[in-house]
């Protein structure tokens, strides 16, 4: 169980619904470990600012997270967390291992645009 303040994706069906229903989605797939916790923290912080993006986490050890673990864009990833960005249901960017606020913000702004009232 990931004890973050993010919304959790529990199943592949949930995952399909989330990326199907929302234009811009960021999902961090990890554990409660030192490389993952900072990324959840950054996402929690950015949730208020990037209102046009939906932020979720998914537990890496949940068998249903194969939808992220086995995504072609995550091939060769060997560092947690796997963080995946979806636009209209398609992966537009994926990163492996820890990312800081600046790195995440740069991707969000590039792929989904800057916050409207920024």
């Amino acid at each position: 169980m990931l004890y973050t303040n993010l919304k959790h994706i529990e199943s592949a069906a949930d995952h399909a619904k989330v990326i199907g229903d929302n234009e811009n989605v960021m999902i961090c797939c990890g554990r409660m470990g030192p490389m993952c916790i900072p990324v959840y923290g950054v996402m929690e912080e950015l949730e208020d600012e990037f209102k046009h993006v939906r932020f979720f986490d998914m537990e890496f050890d949940n068998p249903e997270s194969h939808v992220i673990r086995n995504a072609p864009e995550c091939r060769g990833f060997m560092g947690l967390p796997f963080t995946v960005y979806y636009k209209n249901g398609k992966i537009v960017k994926a990163t492996t291992s820890i990312q800081n606020m600046t790195q995440v913000k740069t991707i969000l702004e590039k792929e989904f645009g800057a916050p409207v009232n920024a």
Binding site: M32, G41, V42, M78
Partner: protein, 323 residues
């Protein structure tokens, strides 16, 4: 408190929200000082990198993440404001009123500053390191060890962390080669012995990693023998790097006295060479770096800072009465 470009005044600003900074925040707020903690990353600092803290007195065992959240809750309960994931763009420590500006244009002023930016793992800084981070290079055995099940890996370093993590990685890897730059280890005898007695662990001494090689994923490392000067390619599926610690004090260069390792020089009250500026935790010049020592430093810094602040306030009040 977000101020959208307008300056805000506090009694004290703490830079860094690890155990040292959070403790300072608790003490300063309890002393009724309006206190702001500014933290660059996730609140808790290196504590959140620790799966289990078993040596914090009074708590038998707790994850670093949980302990950090309790400390943050305590600080906030006393009225301390905590801002995480901020970037400090400028810092002025001169004069009675110090100022801290963030990269978003916000500026904060206070007569008291406590510096507790802690430290981070050292990186090798050789070609390919950034490219293969998460694609074969890792800094966390407990996080990424299982990606290397039945694979051959390298551990770089010769201190306690390197040797302990090398042993723990043998749970997954079929072979672990420790690459160390010197002819001896800087680790406790028991850690050396345990690593040497593990048949999955091999050693390449007096050798450094010169670069990482691969295309999409890491294929190996170029090693350089420090004695002969000869280089050779060493094939490996993964590399774990544990080569020590650096203080996060680059932003303090030429602003405060640092020693040759970049650590903040403090007196017995955690006072720095600048009046009203104190420092605590892993970023100061000291020998032992633990959560308990960071908490102790934070306590001393906050108590000394609080005394300084109240004396300053009394002097200012006396001056106002005389006018």
């Amino acid at each position: 408190m977000r101020n959208g470009g307008i300056a805000m005044d506090y009694d004290a600003i703490v830079i860094g929200g690890g155990p040292a900074g959070l403790t300072a925040g608790i003490y300063l707020s309890r002393a009724r000082m309006r206190t702001l903690i500014l933290n660059e990353g996730t609140v808790g600092g290196q504590m959140v990198l620790t799966h289990e803290i078993a040596n914090f007195p009074g708590v038998e065992s707790i994850s670093g993440f949980q302990l950090a959240n309790i400390m943050k809750k305590q600080a906030k309960a006393f009225g301390c404001e905590v801002r995480s994931n901020v970037t400090i763009a400028d810092l002025s420590l001169d004069g009675g009123m110090k100022s801290v500006s963030l990269d978003n244009g916000e500026t904060y002023h206070a007569p008291v500053i406590i510096l507790s930016p802690g430290g981070r793992s050292r990186t090798l800084g050789v070609p390919g390191e950034n490219k293969f981070k998460g694609r074969g290079i890792s800094y966390c055995a407990t996080c990424d060890g299982d990606f290397f099940t039945d694979k051959e890996i390298v551990v770089v370093g010769g201190g306690n962390s390197a040797l302990e993590e090398a042993v723990s990685l043998t749970k997954y890897a079929s072979k672990v080669t420790v690459v160390h730059q010197f002819d001896h280890f800087q680790a406790f005898e028991h850690a050396i012995e345990e690593a040497k007695n593990n048949e999955k662990i091999h050693f390449i001494m007096e050798t450094e990693v010169a670069s990482f090689v691969g295309d999409e994923k890491l294929d190996g490392v170029n090693l350089l023998n420090n004695v002969t000067g000869e280089g050779h390619f060493f094939q490996t599926d993964g590399v774990f790097i544990f080569i020590g610690y650096v203080p996060n004090t680059e932003f303090l260069t030429n602003k405060i006295e640092l020693n040759k390792w970049g650590e903040i020089v403090v007196g017995s009250d955690m006072n720095t060479n600048i009046s009203g500026v104190y420092a605590a935790g892993d970023s100061i010049a000291k020998r032992y770096r633990q959560v308990t020592t960071a908490v102790g430093d934070g306590t001393i810094a906050a108590m000394a800072a609080s005394q300084y602040f109240h004396q300053l306030k009394s002097k200012t009040n006396a001056l106002l009465i005389h006018l």
